[in-house]
Symmetry: C2
Subunit: 341 residues, 2 copies
């Protein structure tokens, strides 16, 4: 028996379906002050000045995005802001103002709040972001943090998800899968000796958003499409493909992974590529550019971040995301983090 529409749950509908339903309630006609509304890392607004206003918002929920086992309060404060900065970086923008809405349990300690704010402020100061408002409310049973982050960008430097072209190189700014490996270690807890894996845990707890690289890539004019890797390459690359009307072919052997991740995967008999492709929360930037600009891209990213980007694939005409492996070509199913699944 098929569920009646009135009784269909959000679990049945899935995250993509939910977002579609919400998007249907967006503006019926284009609003003149909005260059980009829903569907990218940030909304892009005109406010009458020379620069465009960029806005992004992200929510972290205790029990879904973190637990007191995986994130100590200071790391939570840092990460809550970092995930928003990463969205700003993915548009080529410069963040300047944050709004923090925080729902806390009455039994939370002042120490929790202070530590949270220290983590938040440390990253805010490093990135010249000012906390200018928010809301503080009581939560019945778990903490919820929503940050709205505002920034700006020159109109000619904004990079959207929708500009990828067939034949473009596909690049990523750093190694993949570390955050997933770190989360695995944190969840295993004391049953596993984590020494030597500090970088993986750091990747999960204190991701450093690629703000300078994102901004430089936007200013270079070389980048056709960009997104940050929050839900995993498979899913996030899917957004670029969908909005650019292209497919993508990934070279398995080119996916950058750290020695620590490979070592951990071997030790616990997991496939490191699954972490790299589907793990999510790496907060590296994924972007496309003409193959003729390969040298310029390598030189630019190396100059800013101290390490070259990895060329992990090519944008293709054929629909879908494909994986070129030693055993041949296979289609990659989206397997990043999916809400309501």
């Amino acid at each position: 028996m098929k569920a009646s529409p009135n009784r269909t749950t959000l679990h049945d509908l899935g995250e993509a379906g939910i977002i579609r339903r919400i998007q249907e309630h967006g503006p019926a006609r284009p609003a003149s002050h909005i260059r980009k509304g829903m569907g990218d890392d940030c909304a892009v607004l005109e406010t009458g000045g020379k620069r465009l206003l960029l806005v992004t918002t992200d929510t972290l929920i205790e029990g879904v995005h973190f637990t007191d086992q995986t994130l100590l309060p200071e790391a939570l404060g840092w990460k809550s802001l970092a995930v928003n900065i990463s969205d700003m970086a993915a548009m080529g923008g410069t963040p300047h103002t944050a709004f923090l809405s925080i729902a806390l349990k009455p039994e939370s300690t002042i120490r929790f709040l202070e530590s949270f704010m220290v983590g938040f402020k440390t990253l805010a100061d490093e990135t010249a972001i000012v906390l200018a408002g928010g809301d503080t409310v009581q939560s019945p049973s778990f903490s919820v943090i929503t940050i709205a982050l505002l920034g700006d960008c020159a109109p000619e430097n904004v990079v959207y998800r929708s500009g990828a072209r067939v034949g473009d190189n596909l690049w990523v700014t750093g190694p993949l899968g570390n955050a997933a490996g770190g989360l695995f270690l944190l969840r295993e807890g004391s049953s596993f000796e984590p020494s030597g894996y500090e970088a993986l845990i750091q990747a999960h707890q204190r991701p450093m958003p690629r703000l300078k690289v994102g901004k430089a890539l936007g200013q270079s004019g070389l980048v056709h499409a960009m997104i940050d890797i929050s839900d995993g390459v498979a899913k996030d690359l899917g957004h670029i493909c969908e909005q650019s009307n292209t497919g993508a072919l990934l070279q398995t052997t080119s996916i950058p992974m750290t020695d620590a991740l490979l070592r951990l995967a071997a030790h616990v008999r997991r496939r490191p590529l699954d972490w790299a492709l589907h793990g999510g929360e790496d907060y590296e930037l994924l972007f496309t550019a003409s193959s003729s600009d390969e040298d310029k891209i390598v030189s630019l990213v190396t100059k800013i971040s101290g390490a070259p980007p990895a060329k992990i694939g090519t944008m293709i005409r054929e629909d879908g995301i494909w994986l070129e492996t030693e055993a041949g070509r296979r289609r990659l199913r989206p397997g990043g983090y999916v809400h309501f699944s």
Copy 2:
């Protein structure tokens, strides 16, 4: 025995203490693009254009701000946006863009989401607000809605909480206590015959923010300080007093209350004045202006809203909020809605 600072809970600290702790993590030096950060209804930012950017954000939590007994999904969608519009109105601003972050239970139905969006969209369309982004995440056990609302205002028309002067008249744009009466009825549920009290229930479920009046008051240049009544007159007037370094004297007999509220209060043996002064969620505007501008204020508000504002008191030099009653003058303790109490 005094609790150790490390174990002191947020419940011990109270909402005001929590906000102070967060504010300590605001900018060490004034940021050049921020005209007003924390501590007013909206933050006020310069973005390079002629108009200032106004930003506000509010969170509604199931079990704290609403239950499925007090707010049906459509009313929830309406009210989530309304409370933010009210903050914009209290600065004299014009809202234009909303960001909706919504954490939903997996067992919520599509019908819930659709109804929520219908309520949201109805008010958004009425007020020319465009939904331009947000975040949709899964909540383990209760719904959380955070809206960030952006708007703008000419620099000379922004009204802050801090400009009240000794001798000013204190005005309110409409009756007080209706939302508290409505909430009382909704909580009593079927044990009480609610006929004749529709306006009270409406006031709780579908408050109509005073957007046009707020904007006109800002443009008039007559208003010295303004705030919206979300937590109750006692508490919200306290913010004006604190930031303007004044006190206030309220005339009990001038507090506007509807016949329906007085009738309900008599019927259930409550003091209607408690609802009016401490109930909160009325979303009327509370503002001060020179006593010499009394006629202009009455004429302006009447023209825009169809009804005159009520003059409920005077700003005084003496600290605190005082109530002039038939039995004499007494000090009013803050008794609005207090989180973490």
